[in-house]
């Protein structure tokens, strides 16, 4: 497996030159586009890594998956999906226009920004409590007590996040969030700035693959239904407006972030974390996608076969 990973990292580095590091959050622009790493954890706890797998990066949109878990645990599916849909959309992740048209009543799904802001608002707790619960939850899943958010990236997002502000005020205007807009955005920006490495991400992947059970401790944190809801939504909407093609080409429930991370979970089998900050036009790691595509073919990982 280690050799396979080494080979795939090497091979897919060739894709990096076709991608670009995200620059709309200034600090993300400092990432090294040549970085590429992967970590895989199997059901028995074996860990395989290759490339730049232990560099920390901010998880960005990958945090939407964690926020959704907590929101469902706290409020139940019925309550959550009254305020955010479950339908994949062919609009970009930061689109808001469908909230503005007469028949647009709620965000399409929790994997686009508008939906994720609603999800975060549905987590129990005031202000920092939400964030602390998110962090605690992640530390439990990964067994990594050092997980925290990056203050600099958070401040960079806060300073430049005007599109997200527009989205949040629109949600406020529609009665879909109750907190003050700046308060909920503060948590949202911090949650996006949580730092992890590929191994941490792979731990989330194996946690979901094991139906919400922590690999090391055996602790069951998610009930089966919630776990499969998360997996289904990652499959239909996890890779932005490339989710449909990704399902065809890779077929592994996944969620990407604009910092270049990808969380992937092969039900009952594997957790995978990938990092490669050079992005394609959809905002997905271009070489990370390459690795996952190759892995899926080599190991026959697609849930559609």
């Amino acid at each position: 497996m280690k050799e396979l990973l080494d080979g795939l990292v090497e091979k897919n580095k060739a894709l990096i030159k076709y991608g670009q590091v995200a620059n709309y959050i200034p600090l993300l622009g400092n990432a090294d586009p040549k970085d590429l790493g992967v970590c895989i954890i199997d059901n028995l706890g074996s860990i395989y890594s290759s490339g730049i797998y232990n560099k920390k990066f901010t998880i960005q949109s990958i945090s939407k998956v964690i926020a959704l878990m907590l929101a469902i645990m706290d409020k139940g599916e019925e309550e959550v999906f009254k305020k955010v849909g479950m339908e994949p959309t062919d609009e970009p992740f930061n689109s808001l226009y469908k909230l503005d048209i007469p028949y647009g009543d709620k965000p399409a799904n929790p994997m686009i920004n508008a939906g994720a802001i609603v999800t975060t608002s549905l987590i129990n707790g005031n202000g920092e409590e939400k964030l602390n619960r998110l962090l605690e939850f992640l530390r439990k899943i990964t067994g990594n007590d050092t997980i925290n958010y990056n203050e600099e990236v958070y401040l960079s997002e806060k300073t430049t996040g005007n599109k997200n502000r527009a989205i949040a005020y629109l949600l406020k205007n529609k009665g879909l969030i109750e907190e003050k807009v700046e308060d909920i955005l503060d948590i949202y920006f911090k949650q996006c700035s949580i730092e992890m490495d590929c191994q941490d991400i792979a731990k989330i992947g194996i946690f979901l693959a094991n139906k919400g059970r922590v690999l090391n401790t055996g602790e069951k944190l998610l009930d089966n239904k919630t776990n499969s809801t998360i997996i289904a939504i990652m499959t239909t909407s996890g890779m932005y407006d490339f989710s449909g093609e990704y399902a065809v080409r890779v077929g592994i429930p996944s969620k990407s972030g604009v910092s270049g991370g990808i969380l992937a979970s092969v039900p009952n089998r594997l957790g995978i974390g990938v990092y490669g900050p050079a992005l394609d036009q959809y905002g997905n790691s271009i070489a990370g996608y390459g690795i996952l595509k190759d892995l899926s073919e080599e190991l026959n990982l697609s849930i559609f076969t």
Copy 2:
């Protein structure tokens, strides 16, 4: 003329029951829907009034016309129309979705909220200076030194104006406004809360009818080109997404506000101010529209005949 006006006020009161007072700004909801008044000023300075013509109301979107005058005087047409279009739109006044789609580069025109926020931002001066210049300009045009904004309405708009905040953050995100969003919105909400009565409004109407010359003092404040630009934009876009039908039915360059005021200007002939807070589905005074339609027919005022 006085008799004609009395008759038209009486006749058009019958329309009030089909309209509704605006309630999305809470304080506007306190207006008396039964109010209806009109004031006409002709070229020689004769003033004719009828109904509830001397009750003050906040001018709301009528202020967009004044802001556009100042922005053009300060920055020139070329600069202004780089950041806001001149095209009428069939979308509602508070629509923002066209700013969010890939080919949406600037607000359609200065008479919708998105465009008006840009216009206000283009007025010279920092913070309160913009507002003071707007107030001074209005006092000069109307000869009424008491004109000011209503603090309560301003605060009500500020508290509830989340759709406008969404719009402004989207404009900020697109680089169309330079000030801090809350700063520019503060001026925008104050400008919307400026109070006038029908006679003040009619004075603006006759000022525009006289190509930007103040009736009483003879002072020329707008050059001819700017004046006709204002008149043209009022004609194509002044009555929200009813502007086209209004051109057919009334044919007088006009601008309405959701408080129920309508500013109308018959080039070279008359200035008209109308007040009637019961609105139709487009946000225009329902009985005020009736009066203007009748006046246009009785006095042959349409610019299209």
Copy 3:
């Protein structure tokens, strides 16, 4: 006047190189982009021409104005505007998407293709009768009995008009046209292929300027209300999604066609016909627009001054 026109034709030829001849109807692509001509007729019947003013061209969208006259004469404004709106739109002339969204119930206005197809369908008469009545009406207005449609252009439009077919089937699906789609399109394509020269067009202009009275015969064909409805709609929607800026820059009620013709009518004063097949990005004659802009400034023709 003749000298003025000669000068403006000469001056505005410089714009031609920035435009392009329409090519989506193959036969229109054969036009000579260097052609530029203008004809003006005043209230007393004086005719002034310059440049290539007596070359025939197909009137294309200019025919929408004529069809609207007949439809209103035949069915009355109320009936007509139940099925087509009067609102200017910021969408292109051949847009159909607003008919497909849940709240899209009818075409925005009779100057876009969707609206014009409805208008044509509202003209009394079956099949060729509609066309013959259109031709008779035009012959009466212009005093030119040779006016007819160009068979070749008609066939070219019929062969390639799939976007218009899509529009018409959508209208059919929404119950907005009653005839068979191919039958109504046949008339529509023929109507667009009617040939005229600048003088014929100017005759339509002076007819509208004179409130629907034929200049030579004195015959009154349109009542005043219908005439001013036409003038208003030309003003707000006549120049495609450039109508707003055209109102500001020119201020003359006008209608353009993709063959490069522009019909302009200065109420109570002048009729103008322009021909210049090189088009700008909106589909309007680029040099024709230049001539009209200059004429408006030189002779103070804007209805907004």
Copy 4:
């Protein structure tokens, strides 16, 4: 299993009263809303049926899956997905507006009408050949040589299919189909009118579950990659703009038709055919969805667990 099915049919009949039979194709309106049936075939060829499982119905949109198989077999994935996307959309199945906006270059996916018309056009063969190949393919998969299309339903669709005509002319206008529009629609309407019963549908389901191998004959008709592409697209886009929620609630790759049929395929395990013509607001069989949801829970069929 038989008892389970009997119970689920009985239980889910209660949902029928909340649904409605499709009526936009007149003949479909004649279906009996109280009908409800299901057939399941497992890997060993065991067949379990319950309710009205052997009544024939036209497969409508289920045919899109078959057409996609043939198109990929004939042209290859690369060629096919140049002209139709793979992205799920939150627009209705008969939406066309995204083809009309400037950045809309091809239909979102092969499961909406616009995409399916393109797919059909990509099947090798002229006119009736396409249809005959579709029929032959279905007969092979199901082992049922009597499969054919229903002439009456076909004619009913042909007569009333103006929305599909609008879509097809738009596709033609964009160069996405090569045949004459009426020719390709003729095949499309016939393909939608192919008649099957629940058992035939279940045979398609088990064919896909077995990676494209015919159960009875062992013949391999689809390569593994194509089969998993079909399964992935059914999962993300098979249930109209309810596909996302269906993935969460049921989690079985499926495709529904407006006649009330649902094709479902549990990879490596089961093929399922359901029939229940009373539809929910998305156009899916309301009680059929209920049966599949219950089955998924009872037998743990979701691919996301």
